[in-house]
Amino acid sequence: MSSNKKTRMEALAERLRAGDSRALGRALTVVESGDDDALALTEALAGAFGEAHIVGFTGPPGAGKSTLLDALIHEWRKEGRPVAVLAVDPVSPVSGGAVLGDRTRMGAHSLDDGVFIRSVSARGHLGGLCEAAHDMADMMDAAGWPLILIETVGAGQSETEITQVADLSVVISAPGLGDELQAIKAGILEIGDLLVVNKVDRDDADETAKHLEAMLALRSGAKRDISVLRVSAATGRGVTELKDEIDQLLEATGATVGADRKRKREARKRRLAVLRFASRISAGISEEDFRAMRPEELDRAIERSLALLSTEVED
C-alpha cells in the first residue's frame, strides 16, 4: 500500500512540474491535508522550489485586501507575468466550515490562464495563515509560478506569521479603522516591508497616512525607512506605483531573499522531520502502547528521534 502511495505521489509531482494545473489543484489539497501523502509529495518535489517570489498581504478586515490584489494582478498581467494567489479566509469556530469568497473579487481573472487562484480556509489555525501555507506556496513554486501572492485572514493585529512565508510583506490599512493610537501599537504594522493606505478616494485617508508616517518617524532600528503608499483600488490611483515598488523591493532584496529563504527552508525541513517522526510514531506505536510507555522509555524514544532528526536535517 505504502509503495503504491509513493508512486502515486511521484506521478503527481511529475504532472505538477510539467505544468498541469489540475495536478497543482490536487497537490494543494494533498499538502493542505498534511497526511503521509503530503510528506511523500513534498519529498518528491524537494529541490524543485525556491525560484518564486512570494509576497504577503495582510491588514484588518475591510481594508480592501482582495480588491487591491485584484488591481495588482491586472498590473502584472499587463506585463504578461503569471500570478498565483493563495487567498486565506477565516474558518467557522463552530462548525469548522467556511465560505471562501475572496476570489469573488478577483473574478475578472477567472478565464485568464496566467492566473491561478486557490481559496484556503484557515482551518482553526491562528496567525492569519493556514498551517500548510508554506507547503502550498511551495507547490505553486514547484509548478513554475514565478510570483505568488498570499492574502492572509484579515483578522486583527497579531497576524504576523506571513513573514515566515513571504519574501516581502505588504501591510494594507484604510481610513476609518482606528485612531492615532492604533498606529503606534505593536503588531502587524511592524512587519510590513511596505505600508499601504487604501481607499485614498476618501477624505480622511490622508490623515491615516500621516499617522503611519509619524509612527515610522518614531521607530528606531530596522524598517524605519519604509514607504507609506497611498492607493485606491477602486479608482486605480497609485496601483501602478505600488506594483513598481513591490517589483523594485523584490529586485533589491534579491540576494538577501536567497539567504532568508534558505533559513526558512531549514526551519521547514526541521518541521518536516518532526512530522515524519510523528507519523512513524503513529504508524508504529498504538495509542494504547503509547499511553502505557514508562517515562524513561518515552525519554529514550524522544532521544532517538532527536538524533534521527539532526541527521535528516543535514541532508
Binding site: R22, G25, S95, G97, G101, T104, R118
Partner: protein, 142 residues
C-alpha cells in the same frame, strides 16, 4: 470521518441573477463543516471547470431558477473533457419534473427542488464527496 472537509463549489451559470438560494445553501454547507467556494451568478461553463480544477472541489452545486439547468449536460461534458470526471454535480432550484430525467441521464447526481431540507442537502453532499474522492483515487492509480 473525512481526512479534510468536503470542498464544494456553489455557483450559478447563465443569465439569471437571483442568488438568494445559492447563498442559503452555501451557508447550510458551511454550518455542516464544509469548505464552500462561493461565486456570484452569471458564470460561464469554462470558468466553473477552471474553478473546480484550481480549488480541487469534490462537488459542484449549481442553482437554477430559470432555464439554466438545461446547460448541465454541457457542463458535465466540459468536466469530462478536463479529466474532472470524478467531480459530482448537483442542481438546486426550479427544475420542471419532465426535464429532470434528462439531467439525471446526463450525469447529474441529485436535484433539489423547493421544500428540500438542509439535512437532505447536507447528507447528499457528504455522500457524494466520499464518492468523488474514491473515484479520483481510482483514476489516479490507473
Amino acid at each position: 470521518m473525512m481526512a479534510y472537509p468536503e470542498r464544494v463549489l456553489v455557483t450559478k451559470i447563465g443569465f439569471d441573477g437571483h442568488d438568494r438560494g445559492s447563498r442559503v445553501v452555501a451557508a447550510y454547507l458551511r454550518d455542516a463543516g464544509m469548505e464552500v467556494i462561493y461565486t456570484p451568478p452569471w458564470q460561464e461553463i469554462e470558468t466553473v471547470v477552471k474553478l473546480a480544477m484550481q480549488e480541487d472541489v469534490d462537488v459542484v452545486g449549481v442553482s437554477s431558477l430559470a432555464t439554466d439547468h438545461l446547460i448541465m449536460p454541457d457542463l458535465i461534458a466540459a468536466l469530462r473533457d478536463a479529466e474532472m470526471r470524478h467531480v459530482r454535480l448537483i442542481v438546486g432550484g426550479i427544475i420542471p419534473q419532465n426535464e429532470q430525467p434528462e439531467l439525471m441521464d446526463a450525469g447529474v447526481s441529485a436535484i433539489f427542488g423547493p421544500g428540500a431540507t438542509s439535512e437532505e442537502i447536507v447528507e447528499t453532499v457528504r455522500k457524494l464527496a466520499v464518492e468523488a474522492r474514491a473515484a479520483r483515487e481510482t483514476a489516479e492509480v490507473v
